[in-house]
Amino acid sequence: MAVIKYFGAIAEVTNCNEEQIEVSDLKVSDCLELLNEKYNLNTIDVSVALNQNLVDRESTIKLSDNDEIALLPPFAGG
């Protein structure tokens, strides 16, 4: 299981700040695909971090148990 953290408008779509998902054998890009399917996030531009480090959305890094993935949209307000 990995922890997925959601921020800003993304967290409003998913309706939670974080959740656990099963990631055995998933690549970062596959994981995003899965989340896109689940929540229809496709339209929103997000940056993605794996264990507190920014990674490419297309990253083929394989996920492991206890990994933490963060979906970060830019914020606009001020």
């Binding site: 940056s47 920014l54 963060a70 949209p73 830019p74 606009a76």
Partner: protein
């Protein structure tokens, strides 16, 4: 200097540090919620050269979070009132005010006069402009931004470090930066304090500057997350790029709330029968089909925002106007459809 005793006592400040604060030149882009939180603390600390750029005026709905402004100051220019207030706090501070919005035409010239640029705006488009102008003029850029109860803070382009483009690569991202999203004053105040703190750390050369690190703070549960990122721009940001991106006569987009706050005159180029009708503070309707014949009724030197139903005919209308030497005509992207979603309660135009 005696007034600064309580900070001079800190070994990390001392008289040398106080002199650095005195000599620092800081530009705050935006005198809204973040600006109002940041500015009094910068002035109080003895930073004696502060620039403020904002073309906006004070509205009643600003007062809920923009604590530099009093009820009596409603309708006045933000930068003018901010300067008065800051001078009352610390008369030693020189405050340069720019009573207009940051743009590709003025950014480089203004930034050259400062050491650190603070982003206190509420527009992602302006953030790319600030970012790119900071790269060209070689200035660090202190980023702060809010979404409801969350805030982001980072320092970009610090000693040639990663920039906003390394964190958010897509400068055409469709973020709803005009949509009215609610916010509490305390959330804005907190993010502003984190930004002001970065400014002071950079000037004093103490602590760890948030370069290559994005801080995300959630005020509802006090969770703080830090994300590290590396320098990875894919574009070369130089003056040629800057000019083509921000200075050429391509059609500039504006959202309805920006247009209202910039006092643009709206031109509805839809045919007369089209609905829904939109009420704007200052507007005319001239269908595209007859625009060329009516063009003599419009003033070339005025500032316009043009809209149609979906945003296509307005582009045609703008090309026509530009061919007739109109200088400042902007497009409402997405037309009436987007306007209905985005019209900002804050401006109370209904």
């Amino acid at each position: 200097m005696e007034r600064y005793n309580r900070q001079i006592q800190l070994p990390q400040v001392g008289k040398t540090g106080q002199q650095k604060l005195k000599d620092a030149k800081i530009l705050v882009v935006g005198a809204g919620g973040l600006g109002c939180a940041i500015l009094p603390y910068l002035a109080a600390s003895g930073i004696e050269n502060i620039g403020i750029i904002d073309g906006d005026t004070i509205e009643e709905t600003n007062l809920q979070r923009q604590i530099l402004y009093t009820e009596k100051a409603i309708k006045q220019q933000k930068v003018v009132v901010a300067k008065q207030q800051l001078k009352a706090l610390n008369s030693n501070v020189n405050i340069e005010i720019y009573n207009y919005y940051l743009s590709g035409k003025n950014a480089l010239e203004i930034f050259k006069n400062y050491d650190i640029i603070i982003d206190a705006t509420d527009s992602i488009q302006t953030r790319y402009l600030i970012n790119d102008a900071c790269i060209i003029t070689n200035k660090p850029f202190v980023y702060g931004s809010i979404y409801r109860f969350e805030g982001q803070v980072s320092v970009f382009n610090y000693k040639n470090g990663p920039t906003y483009r390394c964190l958010f690569k897509n400068d055409k991202a469709k973020v709803t930066n005009c949509e009215t999203v609610g916010v509490l004053g305390t959330t804005v105040g907190l993010i502003g304090m984190l930004q002001a703190n970065e400014v002071i750390k950079m000037i004093l050369e103490i602590g760890d500057v948030l370069s290559g690190k994005l801080l995300v703070y959630n005020t509802l549960n006090n969770a703080q997350n830090g994300i590290n990122f590396k320098k990875s721009e894919t574009k070369i940001i130089d003056e040629a790029f800057f000019n083509s991106e921000y200075k050429t006569h391509k059609i500039e987009a504006v959202c309805v709330n920006e247009a209202i706050s910039q006092n643009l005159i709206f031109i509805d180029v839809r045919e007369l029968h089209e609905t829904p009708k939109i009420t704007v503070p200052n507007g005319v309707q001239i269908p595209l089909s007859i625009l060329e014949t009516k063009i003599k009724n419009l003033n070339k030197n005025e500032n316009y925002a043009v809209y149609c139903q979906s945003g296509k005919r307005s582009i045609e209308a703008i090309k026509l106007l530009k061919n007739h030497q109109f200088q400042n005509v902007k497009n409402i992207e997405g037309g009436v459809i987007s306007m209905q979603q985005n019209i900002n309660n804050e401006k109370s135009i209904y």
